[in-house]
Amino acid sequence: MSAPAAKLEVSGLQKRFGGLTAVRDVSFSVHAGEILGLIGPNGSGKSTVMKSILGVERPDAGSVRVDAREVAGWPPHRIAQLGVGMVFQHSRPLHRQTVLENILLGLLPDRLLDLLPRAAANARARAIAERVGLTGVLNRRPATLPFADLRKIEIAKAIARDPQVVLIDEPFAGLTARETASFAKLITEMRDDGRAVLIVDHNVKSMSALVDRVYAMNVGEKIAEGTVAEVMANETVRKVYLGGALTTAARPEAAFADAQTPFLEIENLSVVYDKAQALEGVSLHVHEGEFVAVVGLNGAGKTTLFNAVSGLVPYAGDIRRQGKPLRGRTAAMIAREGIVQSPEGRELFGLMTVGENLDMGGHGLGDKERGERREWLFNLFPILKERQRQTAATLSGGEQQMLTIARALMMKPDLLILDEPTLGLAPVVMEQISKALERLRQTTEITVLLGEQNVTFALPHADRVYVLEHGRIVWEGDPSRFAAEAGAMYL
């Protein structure tokens, strides 16, 4: 691959949001007829890089060159006119227009007095539709199409502008295996047309068959670059995705009393967000007193799974608590009855003090009991005691996470659902939280369902592990066997 100048060249890119630096010194280039994969777990800054290229975000330092032209800081439409196309993850077509018209949109010049469409454009649109496989539905309205076709419209729009550089955000999210294949084909075709393609996604595996090179990021910085094989072999990458050597403390499943009807049973659960398949036939169970970890990359469907349990999203299939179905109960009821979630977004009451946040958690308890409970949590998370009078918004990320967990514990949960407790936290803080969980697990009979993408954090506590990928359970077993059996599909 010794093409002259790179079509897209990013160098020394830097972007700060207030205090934290989202992207630090990122440099890579994509050549004509090449596909580069940009990967990284949540919060790695990959989408910020993408936005900076599109001109949606204005980089603080560094340069973005398209065809050797410096475009950093240009408005989006000018960058686009220069030949940068984008395939968005969430497709938002014009609902009142036909598929054909939606594609035509991509062919229109940015002029005010262009009142009559040229026949040429029409023909062109049909040709593109043909190519992406939408011919059959040209005159239908998007609302009536399956999810995959909506994504195809996005691709068609991008192709329509005949871009030299194409950015593709999570191309396979929400697609079935078959659809994934046909999409991969479309993307390779773009490369064969001599376009420079940049795919942004969570892990290598999803795109391994596709990309020529991979650029891996974590917390805003490059951690590896090279061929798929190289990156997958790379130590740092493996550490970020799989964690290092693990000591696990799993208890055998048989050890739990309620072997026949587990405390929580999920059977063949499916969830569909406007057409995107978020969960597909998921079945899992948690015994009383058990600590179960569901690991999976961001976007794999963990949060959806938990929200289904908490009654926040409609679903197909069964969720049973001690044999009794939860369907039909409001989210609040489910929480009151003891299945309590410590959500990914934390959902704290920012302008309330730590103490008040805890009291909200204990609103169901009597004053005395609430007091005791608070004290108990304070010695579980001593830092919170010091911060009592501070408002939640002013806490550090780690402290906020502890508060979230503590607030959930104020409700005396029978089952505690922990969704991504380590999201965007520094290693030391993870350590503290990990310790707290450890103590919780030893000192109480608590039942926990943990969702994590950080395996290092999840496995040590877990009795059993499920691996979730693209909304399906792809592996279940003992944490000690994880790296060996599930590692590959996880990277």
Binding site: P76, H77, F88, R92, L105, R111, T144
Partner: protein, 309 residues
């Protein structure tokens, strides 16, 4: 695309309706004509509003700001110097388009309720100005406009009908044209539109100008029909409200529906006039029921049924 639009059912139907409407003077009384004349002008107001809301996705609570600018500029000019009516109207349109720009500026900065409020404030400002500058605007009295286009009900009616038909055709064609597509895209998702290479700002500004053009023109014409302009008729917030309700009632994002809604409002209000104050009560009740139970609006119901298939 345009070809399809030109022969599409809504266009054919409206064409027939307009032709039928044109024959009304032959068999209905002058009074009904006068009524419809007003209704047609309100139809244009609503259509112009729908272009902004339904396509540029900008909720403008101050349509009467644009309308008022058009009507008063034209009226005042006539009142002072009595130049040819056409000139006054042109001036009105110009003023209203400048007003459109003034409205657009905040629209490009602030969103949602904030933009809504700026437009509302614009109306209140204009209202205060008219009252304070009474010597020029006639203030509370209302402005007397010496010239009228014609005192013949039939002529006035045909002017209004023709004007509405033409405006409707232009606006409808516009929304169906390529620029219409771009405008919708910009309104629906600016980021995507930008990524497709469209200058969102440019297109939204254009939309404001077009909307202002028609609002102002309609305002000026209506002023010359009534031979008077008062805050209560052209600027008051309630006027804007009626315009908006007309559009929502008829079915937003349909342009043509807006006319339906406006005519419906005026006509219903008039037929209920004998009930005195209850009339307004019932009209708003009916409108509320439509908003609550048939959010797609009168025309929207029909279209929606078709689109769903």
């Amino acid at each position: 695309m345009l070809r399809r639009a030109l022969v599409s059912p809504p266009v054919l139907i409206s064409l027939i309706v307009v032709l039928l409407a044109a024959t009304l003077p032959l068999y209905v009384s002058g009074y009904v004509l006068g009524l419809l004349t007003i209704a047609y002008y309100f139809g244009v107001f609503s259509m112009a509003w729908d272009l902004l809301f339904g396509f540029a996705n900008e909720v403008n609570f101050g349509p009467s700001f644009l309308i008022g600018l058009g009507a008063y500029t034209a009226g005042i000019l006539d009142n002072l110097y009595q130049p040819p009516i056409a000139l006054c109207i042109a001036a009105g349109v110009l003023a209203s388009m400048i007003g459109g720009l003034v409205l657009a500026l905040p629209a490009l900065r602030v969103r949602g309720p904030y933009f809504g409020l700026t437009t509302l404030v614009a109306v209140l400002m204009l209202q205060n100005f008219v009252v304070v500058a009474a010597s020029l605007t006639g203030g509370e009295i209302g402005l007397t406009i010496p010239d009228v286009i014609s005192i013949d009900d039939k002529v006035n009616y045909w002017i209004a009908l023709g004007f509405m038909a033409v405006s409707g055709a232009i606006l409808y064609g516009l929304t169906r044209s390529p620029v219409g597509l771009i405008l919708q895209a910009s309104g629906q998702d600016p980021v995507q539109a930008g990524a497709l290479g469209f200058n969102v700002t440019k297109h939204k500004l254009a939309a404001f100008l077009v909307s202002a053009f028609f609002s102002g023109l309609a305002g000026a014409l209506m002023a010359f029909y009534l031979g008077t302009a008062s805050v209560g008729t052209f600027i008051d917030v309630t006027v804007g409200v009626q315009v908006i309700i007309g559009a929502v009632l008829g079915g937003r994002r349909t342009i043509l529906g807006a006319v339906l809604g406006a005519v419906f409002l005026v006509a219903l209000g008039e037929t209920l006039r004998p009930l005195g104050d209850l009339a307004t009560f019932i009209v708003s009740a009916v409108a509320l029921i439509v908003v609550l139970f048939f959010p797609a609006g009168l025309l929207g119901m029909v279209k929606g049924a078709r689109e769903a298939t």
